[in-house]
Structure formats: C-alpha cells, structure tokens
C-alpha cells in the first residue's frame, strides 16, 4: 500500500501469528456493549511486545481467524446474566462449554459463545482461551459506559495483565 497517512491496523487483520492475543469485543455505539473495547484500549499501552491487542466487533467466524495460530487468547466481552452490573466473570474455554445465554447481547446471532463452541467442534480452539465477561446494564443505542461498568474497567484490565503474566510464567 502506498503511504496515505493512516495507520492500517493489520493487527486485527485476522492473520496474526502472535503467540498471545487479547481481544476486546463489542460495539462502541451500544453503551455497555463497548466494555470489551474499552478494556482493550486500556491494555494497548500496557501489554508486552509479543502480545497482540485487538478490538473486535465479535463476528464469530472472524474471531476464529483472529485467534488462529495463537497459543494463548484472552477475550473480553460484555455479558448479561442478571448479575449485578460490573460483575466480572472468568471462564476457561478449555475447561468448560461457554454458557450461550451469557452473551445474548452479541450483535450477531452466532455469538461469541457459539464462536468458541464452533472452534471446539472444528478443533480450532487455542491451547489456552480465557474469557472475561463484564456484566453490563445498558445495551441501548448510544455511547459511553454506565458508571457501574466504567468503575470496573481498570480492575478488569489489571486482571487480564495478571492472566498474561501467569501464562508467560507457565510457559504458554
């Protein structure tokens, strides 16, 4: 490509060979649905060089591409389970099936949970895939997180960083 003066975000090009991938999923115009994106933005400056941070809209087959060849993946998405807003859930995709009802607010009917299950069936699940869900309250059209969710973003980002450090120590 010639130099047109913009940064083309090839990190999200779906062909990443990075060993470790962090994917924040969400829609910036559906309020709390953007939580995963906001956490990813927090992590961009803080993650070590071998970690690829992506902001992703959550289309499932593209997710399969995004984590292809990755050894370890941490995915962050807003969820809705009826728990208190801001509650942080942690799920290990290798250990358990991902409850589909958690991700009912995905903008795509084939949700993040289904993407993970599809990858499992096709043998394309990364060796380590941890999903952090943050309980959202308001998924209406608009911008900005609700205070309960906003208030937990920094903490969730820290937990993801610890997760990455642990994975590095374990030699993943």
């Amino acid at each position: 490509m010639n130099d047109g003066g913009i940064v083309v975000d090839r990190a999200s090009a779906g062909t990443s060979k990075a060993r470790v991938v962090v994917i924040g999923v969400g829609n910036p115009y559906r309020r709390d649905d953007a939580a995963g994106l906001v956490v990813a933005q927090h992590l961009r400056q803080k993650t070590p060089g071998h970690v690829t941070v992506m902001e992703h809209e959550g289309e499932p087959t593209a997710l399969l591409e995004a984590w292809r060849d990755a050894h370890a993946v941490v995915l962050i998405d807003a969820v809705f389970s009826g728990a208190e807003a801001g509650t942080i859930h942690r799920l290990d995709a290798q250990a358990d099936a991902i409850p589909q009802e958690l991700f009912r607010y995905s903008t795509h009917a084939v949700s993040v949970a289904e993407a993970i299950e599809l990858a499992r069936v096709l043998g394309q699940l990364p060796p380590k895939l941890v999903v952090y869900g943050i309980e959202g309250k308001d998924f209406s059209a608009g911008v900005g997180l609700s205070p309960e969710v906003e208030g937990r973003v920094a903490e969730l980002a820290e937990r993801v960083l610890r997760e990455l450090a642990d994975a590095a120590e374990a030699g993943d």
Partner: protein, 429 residues
C-alpha cells in the same frame, strides 16, 4: 375456537436480535408482527452537526457484516452533494472491496445461517459436528472475502481506509496479486456451493413480489445504478423519497417501508437476480440454470441458491478487476463541501441501502436519513410469514415455529442494522 399465538424470542441465526409475533384464531392468522429496533434512527440523530466526511466511518459501525455497504452509500451521497464523481480505477477498487463484502456475507449466510435450516440442524455448530469439511469450506470462502476487505479497507470489520472521494491509500498491482489464486479457489468453491445447495429440499412457495433493486447498463449493479422494479419503477436514486415511504409502527421501534403507489416490495438477492439476470456473467448464469433456476426466482427459500450464484459472480468480478487494475495516481479525488442534499444507494448483501444527507456550505450535516434493507423487507417478511402460516396452519407448534424462523431467515435479516430483539412467541388463549 382455539386461539394461539406464536412468539419467537431471540430468533437464532439472524444477524442480531429481534422478535416475531403471530396470533391465530383456530387455523386463521389474525396478526403477524416482526418487532425490530433500529440503530439507524440513533445514528441519524448522532450524525447531525458532524462533518460530512464522518458518516463513512461512523455508519460503518451500524453493521459488522455489511460495513462496506454503509461506507459506499454514505460516500456516494456526500460525493453527489459536492458534485464529485469517483471514476476509473478508484471506482473499480470500490467495486472490488464490495465484492469482498458480498463473498464474506453470503458465505456466512449460506453455510452457517441458512443451510442448517434445510439440513435439519439447530445451528452451524451441529452442522459442523457432522460435516466439518462443509463448514471449513465456508470459513475459508468467507476468509477470502475478509482478506479483500482487509487489503482495501485496512481491516475487515469497520474498515477505515474508505473516504469521501476514494480511499486514504490504494494498493499496488503487487499487493493484489496474492489474492488471484485465492479468488480462483473461491470461484470453484462457490460453484461447488451452488451444486450443493441446489440439492436441498425447498418448500413450494412463491408470491408475486414487486422486486426492487439497482440496475446498471454495463454491469450487475452493486454500488451504482438506477432503482428499478418489475412493476414499472425506474427512478434515479434522488427520487427515492418521492416513491418510498417509511411508516412508524407502534408495535415496533423500527420503520416499515412501502412503495407509495403499490405497497409491499422485496429487496435483496432475489430482486437483484430477477431484475439483472442478463447482467450476470455466463458462468454464473450457467451455474444458476444447472441449479434449476430460470431468469426470475420468486421462491424466497431458494435465495440460498441465488446467494451462491451471486458469490460465483463476485469472485469472477473480483478477478476481472484485479486483472485490469492499474494503480491510480491519487488515492482520492479532492472533495470540497458545498451546501445541498445528496443521495446514495448501493446493494448491501441483503438489499438496497439508502442514505440521504443535507449539509451546509462548511460541510456540517444538517439532516441524515438511513434506510436499511431489513426495514425495507420487514413488511414482505411479515407477509411471507402470514402466507406461510396459513398454508401450514395445522402443523404442531414446534414445526410451525421452525418454519416461521426459516421464512424470516430467507431474507438474511440484518437485525443489528435494523433491530434489537426478534422474539417468536406462541400462546394459547
């Protein structure tokens, strides 16, 4: 008399969420409502007061599956206001990136959302358990569409490289070369797809639709053309508002479109195909004939074949564009704002997507209107469901519900573009 109501909550395998409500008295349908919520309404308000260059990126966020459609319709509208025409290789590149969107969107719908219906699977996951190779082919096909979008758009979801007047950067011939072999594979895979879906069992179902699509004198219309129908419509895109009306329905937060003169109309693959069969390539035409289609297709269930035929066509078209490509001197033509109203309409994978913007002399947006294909198809979907339920009223609840979902899925409704919750409920009074 037994009353029953069918309600589907969180319809699976449509792009997003929404709800369907069917009320019956005995075996007679009393009411059919598709309830959808429309982000375009939010975006119309959100865009007012912003710069005329911003909708290309902002509206791309309305849908993760058809961002290019939003970019192209909004760019076209702004270019028309400002009196600029994007031509030559820049126009060809826009068609090329749109081909990528059609490949990825059609591959997703044909294999992962629609085929499981016909094959009796609850979802693509269940399909993948029995037929992993079919699902892997779908994913590979879709990936090639994504790669086209990444190369030209910067990234596949919410591309950032398209702008009013052209692109921020354009590829060299060398950049495009690696796609050639992949697209040749995709063309063969698409032909294989047509052969596969032609063998599916289709309900005997046809309605006398008014098809509305773009038509262009030189090509199968994707990103430019006049709006035509099989019942006499033939207008410039700027005349859209004189012929089409959006009505607000109190049961839904969305708007339902109809033609002033005649009412319901049908947009999407069936409409495009039936109005433009003569503009398909010989290979795509032959694939359609071999699959048992004539030049007009009125069975919405067979839209799965039409999408597959269109995929063959766009793979060929992408190859042709790459073959003829010469890198333009500039990635964009200069666009200076001028006061006025502009209109854009392009063929999203699901049908025509209309944008209208009024801007002032400084390029500030005074008014925005966006009509997504799914809201245009909303009435026709309700009409199909109504007709279909009447035909199958004696079926038990679970089977009827399954068929209703399938009848909706025929339109590949992009609910994230046009609605929030799709819920199918059935109740007995």
């Amino acid at each position: 008399m037994r009353n029953r109501t069918i309600k589907v909550d969180a319809l699976a395998r449509v792009e997003g969420e929404g709800g369907l409500y069917v009320k019956m008295r005995g075996d007679t349908v009393v009411d059919v409502k598709l309830n959808i919520y429309e982000p375009p309404r939010f975006f119309e308000a959100f865009l007012r007061g912003r710069d005329f260059r911003e909708p290309v990126d902002i509206t791309a966020r309305i849908c993760g599956i058809c961002p290019i459609a939003y970019q192209m319709s909004s760019a076209q509208a702004m270019e028309r206001v400002c009196g600029v025409k994007v031509e030559g290789q820049l126009r060809a590149l826009r068609r090329l990136i749109y081909c990528g969107e059609w490949i990825e969107s059609h591959a997703l719908h044909v294999y992962l959302l629609h085929a499981p219906d016909f094959l009796g699977y609850e979802s693509a996951i269940h399909l993948a358990q029995d037929h992993p190779d079919i699902v892997k082919r779908a994913l590979e096909l879709k990936k090639i569409g994504n790669e086209l979008m990444i190369l030209l758009g910067g990234r596949e979801i919410h591309p950032i490289n398209v702008r009013v007047g052209g692109f921020y950067s354009v590829p060299t011939r060398k950049d495009l070369e690696p796609l050639v072999e992949k697209l040749k594979w995709a063309r063969e895979a698409s032909l294989e797809t047509v052969r596969l879906v032609a063998t599916l069992p289709f309900p005997d179902f046809e309605q006398d639709y008014e098809f509305v699509a773009l038509r262009h004198p030189d090509e199968y219309a994707i990103h430019e053309g006049r709006l035509v129908s099989n019942k006499g419509l033939d207008i410039d895109v700027s005349e859209y508002d004189e012929h089409f009306i959006e009505e607000h329905d109190q049961h839904s937060t969305s708007l339902r479109s109809h033609l002033k003169e005649r009412g319901l109309y049908h947009v999407g693959p069936l409409a495009r195909y039936s109005l433009n069969f003569d503009k398909l390539s010989p290979l795509a035409q032959q694939a359609a004939r071999d699959a048992g289609l004539g030049p007009v297709c009125r069975n919405p269930f067979k839209s799965i074949i039409v999408r597959s035929v269109e995929t063959v066509y766009v793979c060929e078209e992408a190859l042709r564009i790459i073959e003829e490509y010469e890198m333009p001197d500039k990635p964009a033509v200069e666009v200076k704002p001028r006061a006025g109203t502009g209109f854009g309409c392009t063929e999203a994978p699901r049908g025509i997507l209309y944008h209208r913007y009024t801007i002032d002399k400084n390029g500030i947006i005074l008014d925005a209107k966006i009509v997504a294909p799914t809201s245009q198809n909303q009435k026709i979907i309700e009409s199909d469901v109504d007709y279909f339920v009447r035909q199958n009223a004696t079926l038990p609840d679970d089977k009827l519900t399954w068929l209703c979902e399938q009848a909706i899925r025929n339109y590949d409704p992009c609910i994230s573009c046009s609605c929030h919750f799709l819920k199918l409920h059935r109740e007995y009074e």
